[in-house]
């Protein structure tokens, strides 16, 4: 076997997902929350790629590419929201943007 097995990839993917979740929960700047969300998506992507190699199946790579497209769409809408919030002179703080709280 050449190089590390898929278990190592899954470990790194779990670490990435955990770090991203920590950033989403801990940080209050909207931009950094979006960046942490990208880290979580990339952790899931790494697990998909590792399993694709493990199972010799291309569906994992196709799924990873679809995740990339969805992440691009999410960034498009999220940054549009950030710019809209900024233009209304609101604070870019997820704790202060609580007008929709029920």
């Amino acid at each position: 076997m050449l190089g590390p097995g898929v278990a190592w990839y899954l470990g790194v993917a779990a670490f990435l997902f955990g770090i991203g979740a920590l950033g989403v929960l801990l940080r209050r700047n909207v931009l950094i929350v979006l960046l942490s969300l990208e880290i979580m998506l990339n952790g899931a992507n790494l697990a998909l790629i590792g399993f694709s190699r493990h199972a010799h199946n291309g569906a994992g790579q196709i799924f990873a590419l679809a995740v990339m497209a969805v992440a691009a769409a999410e960034v498009c809408v999220g940054l549009g929201l950030v710019v809209a919030i900024h233009r209304r002179n609101l604070d870019l703080d997820v704790d202060k943007l609580s007008e929709l709280r029920g």
Partner: protein
């Protein structure tokens, strides 16, 4: 022959450990940096080292798409927006172990442990890819053939998702522009030379408020 194979194996391990370390370190940097600009730059490093990890499992096309789509397009858009918004007064770290901070750390640790436990229970002992793959695995032609034969529906749905997101971004931008125009017009009808004028006044307003 055996010596050459083991030397290649050691090299792959070294590259893998370097890329994984860079990946995790830059992810920690994204979460801990105070300035969003530095966070975005750290995320570019994270995506680059992830592309190296993808190459090591011979997912060549996904690695190339990762660099082009993420590090190329998405991060440029992030950096544009960060530069447009400018240096915000960053709300500093919560300052000590407050309850929300503690809860966030506990929830993230719970998610991490859950992933590890589920993977270890479900697939422990079966996770080693010993066989070699054929040369076309992960190549662009192979991925394109899969996209246009087995996964055609996912391909088309992806295009629709991207179209809807683009329309949504345009609508959000136009709506914000209309709001800004209606908010800026009634008090000072004559004194509005450029659309960027209200944005300039914003820090002083926030400082006074």
């Amino acid at each position: 022959m055996l010596v050459a194979a083991s030397a290649g194996n050691v090299l792959v391990w070294i590259v893998w450990i370097g890329a994984a370390f860079a990946c995790l370190a830059s992810a920690v940097g994204v979460v801990t940096f105070g300035n969003p600009f530095y966070s975005a730059l750290a995320l570019i490093g994270n995506l680059g080292s992830l592309a190296v990890l993808y190459l090591l499992v011979s997912a060549e096309f996904v690695a190339a798409a990762q660099v082009m789509v993420y590090a190329g397009a998405v991060m440029v858009m992030f950096l544009f927006v960060i530069a447009y918004i400018g240096p915000r007064q960053e709300t500093p770290w919560a300052g000590g172990p407050s309850w929300p901070t503690l809860g966030a750390v506990l929830a993230a640790a719970a998610i991490f442990l859950e992933i590890i436990v589920v993977v270890a229970l479900k697939a422990g002992g079966k996770l080693s890819h010993s066989e070699h793959v054929n040369a076309t695995f992960g190549s662009p032609g192979w991925v394109g053939r899969l996209f246009l034969t087995d996964h055609l529906l996912a391909f088309e749905i992806t295009s629709i998702v991207l179209l809807v997101a683009a329309v949504g971004g345009v609508i959000l931008g136009a709506h914000a522009h209309r709001l800004e125009a209606s908010a800026a017009k009634p008090p000072t009808p004559g004194r509005r030379p450029a659309p960027s004028a209200p944005r300039r006044e914003q820090p002083t307003e926030e400082a006074s408020a």
